[in-house]
C-alpha cells in the first residue's frame, strides 16, 4: 500500500506539504538549541574541571551531589560514597542518568525531539519521511511510560540542588553571606522546582487520576495549582536548560578565577 498523503483514494497532490510559512524553522531551531545544550553539558560533565568555588561554596548543578573522593572535601556535603573517579567520568554519575531520563521522557521534550530529530512529523501538515510508524507501543519507546519514576527521582535531586543553594548562603569562614552567584543558584533552583512540579506526571499524581474532585478538595486544589504551572511546562523546560547552563558557566568562571564573585553580604 502506498503510504500517507499519497494513499489511494486521497486527493492526488504530489507535494509533501502545501504550507507556505517557514514551518521548518521551529524544528531546526529546536534541534540546534538542544544539540548545543547537550554538547555543553557533555563537555562540562566529562571535563571534571572548575565545578566548585570553595570560598563561596558554589557547586555546579552538573556535579551535584559530589560524593566521590575526586571532589574537594568541602564540596562533599553528603559524604564520600565512592573512591576516585577516573578521568572523563561525570562526578555526579549517580544523578545524571535520572535527570537525563526525566528530560528524555518529559511529555514536552518528547514532542520537541520527535519533531526536530525524528521528524515524526517535522511540523503539522508536513508529511514525515518514515514509511512505518508504531508510536510508543514498542521497545524502546514504550519506556516513555516510566516518566513518573523519573519525576520522583528529579524531585529528590531538586532537594539536593536546594541544599546546594543553602550551602551557598554559608560561604567559607562565615555563618551567612551571599553574592551574585548565590542569587543565580537560587533563581536556577526555583525554576528547576517549577519545571519539576509542572510535569504532566506530577499533575496526574496530585489529582489528575481522580474521578471525583469533590471528594478530595485538597488534592483538587493542588491539581488546580499544578495545572496552572503545567500550562507553562514548555517555557519552563527551555528556561531551565538556560539557567542550568548559565549557573554552571558562572560557577566555572568564578572557580577558575576568570572573574571574582560580587558579594552583597559578608
Amino acid at each position: 500500500m502506498q503510504a500517507g498523503v499519497s494513499a489511494p483514494g486521497r486527493a492526488t497532490i504530489a507535494e509533501r506539504t502545501l504550507r507556505t510559512d517557514r514551518w521548518w524553522q521551529a524544528p531546526l531551531l529546536t534541534s540546534v538549541l538542544l544539540s548545543i545544550w547537550v554538547l555543553y553539558a557533555l563537555v562540562r560533565t566529562v571535563s571534571q574541571r572548575a565545578y566548585f568555588a570553595a570560598p563561596e561554596h558554589y557547586l555546579s548543578p552538573f556535579t551535584s551531589p559530589c560524593v566521590t573522593a575526586s571532589c574537594p572535601p568541602a564540596a562533599r556535603d553528603f559524604g564520600t560514597w565512592f573512591g576516585h573517579f577516573p578521568p572523563f567520568i561525570p562526578l555526579a554519575l549517580i544523578t545524571l542518568p535520572f535527570l537525563l531520563g526525566f528530560r528524555l521522557t518529559c511529555y514536552y521534550y518528547r514532542r520537541a525531539y520527535y519533531r526536530a530529530f525524528w521528524q515524526s512529523p517535522p511540523a503539522c501538515g508536513v508529511a514525515e519521511p518514515h514509511s512505518k510508524y508504531t508510536g510508543e507501543t514498542r521497545f524502546p519507546l514504550i519506556l516513555q511510560n516510566l516518566h513518573r519514576y523519573f519525576f520522583l527521582a528529579a524531585g529528590v535531586i531538586s532537594l539536593v540542588n536546594t541544599w546546594d543553594v543553602v550551602q551557598a548562603f554559608r560561604p567559607e569562614g562565615h555563618t551567612f553571606g551571599f553574592g551574585l552567584g548565590t542569587l543565580i543558584m537560587l533563581v536556577n533552583v526555583v525554576l528547576l522546582w517549577m519545571y519539576t512540579v509542572s510535569c504532566h506526571s506530577c499533575r496526574h499524581i496530585v489529582g489528575g487520576r481522580l474521578r471525583n474532585f469533590s471528594r478530595h478538595p485538597l488534592r483538587y486544589k493542588a491539581w488546580t495549582v499544578v495545572s496552572k504551572l503545567n500550562a507553562k511546562h514548555m517555557q519552563l523546560a527551555w528556561v531551565t536548560l538556560l539557567t542550568l547552563m548559565l549557573t554552571d558557566a558562572y560557577i566555572a568562571l568564578v572557580s577558575s578565577g576568570a572573574i571574582s564573585d560580587p558579594r552583597f553580604y559578608n
Binding site: 503510504a3 518528547r110 501538515g125 513518573r148 487520576r209 471525583n212 483538587y220
Partner: protein, 250 residues
C-alpha cells in the same frame, strides 16, 4: 475595498485531479468560504464544497488552506496578503469524493466503536448527581464540533494509511478520556484506549491541539492524562499494588 485574489483550488475526484488557478474578487470582511462560494457562483458551477453554518459551529467546511487544516468559514481573507496565492485543497487524510469534499466515514466508524456513557448498575436516569467541579474537566471536551481537523492533521493516520485500522485518532481518544473522567461512568475505558483504540501510537506532537478551532487542549488535557491513566493500569506496579490493597474508588 475589493481586490482580485489568486486562488489555487484542487479539482477532481477519486480517479485523480489537480490544482486549478482562479482569479476571484475579494471584499472587505470576507472569509475563505465566501470566496469559494463566489467561485462556485461565477466561474465553477460544479465545484463541490461541504458547508453549513458559516459560523464555526457545524464543522462542515473543513479543508486545507495553504497546507494547514482549517475551517474555511473561520479563515479571514484579511490574514493573507493581497498578492498571495491561496491554495485550497480537501482534507488530505481522507478519501476524496469530489473537489473539496472528502469521505469522512472513517470517523463515524471509530465513533461507533466507543461505547456510550454507562451509569453504574441500579442508577436510573434522573438519579445522576454530579458536583460542578467534577464535570468541569470533561466539559471542555464537549466543545468539540467534530470538524475532524485533528483527525486530518494527526500524522499517525495522515502519513500511514495502514494505521487507520488500529488507531482511532485524537477526537475519539478525547471522547474516551471524557468518559473515563466522568464520575459516574462504569465502563473500563483505560484498557480499551490502549488495546483497541491505539493510544500508544500517539506521540503527543500536539498537532491536534494546534488545529482545533474550539481551542480544546486535546493533548495536555485529554491525551496525556489518558496516557497517565493507562500507565496506572498497565505499567506502574506501585499503583497496581496500592489499588489491590486499598480497593478504594478514586
Amino acid at each position: 475595498m475589493s481586490y482580485d485574489a489568486q486562488f489555487r483550488v484542487w479539482r477532481g475526484d477519486d480517479e485523480g485531479g489537480d490544482l486549478v488557478d482562479y482569479t476571484v474578487e475579494v471584499n472587505e470582511g470576507e472569509v475563505v468560504l465566501d470566496i469559494i462560494h463566489r467561485l462556485q457562483a461565477t466561474q465553477a458551477g460544479d465545484l463541490a464544497v461541504r458547508w453549513n453554518c458559516k459560523a464555526g459551529k457545524c464543522g462542515s467546511c473543513s479543508a486545507e488552506i495553504n497546507g494547514r487544516p482549517r475551517l474555511m468559514c473561520m479563515t479571514r481573507m484579511s490574514t493573507f496578503a493581497e498578492n498571495e496565492t491561496i491554495t485550497v485543497t480537501p482534507l488530505r487524510a481522507f478519501p476524496v469524493m469530489k473537489d473539496l469534499v472528502t469521505d469522512v466515514s472513517f470517523n463515524y466508524k471509530k465513533a461507533q466503536q466507543v461505547p456510550a456513557f454507562a451509569p453504574p448498575p441500579g442508577l436510573e436516569p434522573g438519579e445522576y448527581r454530579l458536583a460542578q467541579i467534577d464535570v468541569e474537566r470533561p466539559q471542555e471536551f464537549r466543545k468539540c464540533i467534530e470538524c475532524f481537523l485533528c483527525q486530518d492533521v494527526c500524522h499517525v493516520v495522515r502519513d500511514h494509511e495502514e494505521n487507520k485500522e488500529s488507531f482511532s485518532g485524537p477526537r475519539f481518544l478525547m471522547r474516551i478520556a471524557e468518559l473515563d473522567m466522568h464520575p459516574l461512568d462504569a465502563l473500563d475505558r483505560q484498557h480499551t484506549a490502549q488495546e483497541e483504540h491505539g493510544l500508544g501510537m500517539c506521540n503527543i506532537t500536539k498537532c491536534c491541539t494546534e488545529v482545533c478551532p474550539e481551542h480544546i487542549k486535546i493533548t495536555d488535557n485529554a491525551l496525556i492524562p489518558l496516557k497517565e491513566r493507562v500507565v496506572d493500569r498497565k505499567y506502574d506496579p506501585v499503583v497496581w499494588l496500592g489499588n489491590k490493597i486499598r480497593r478504594r474508588p478514586s
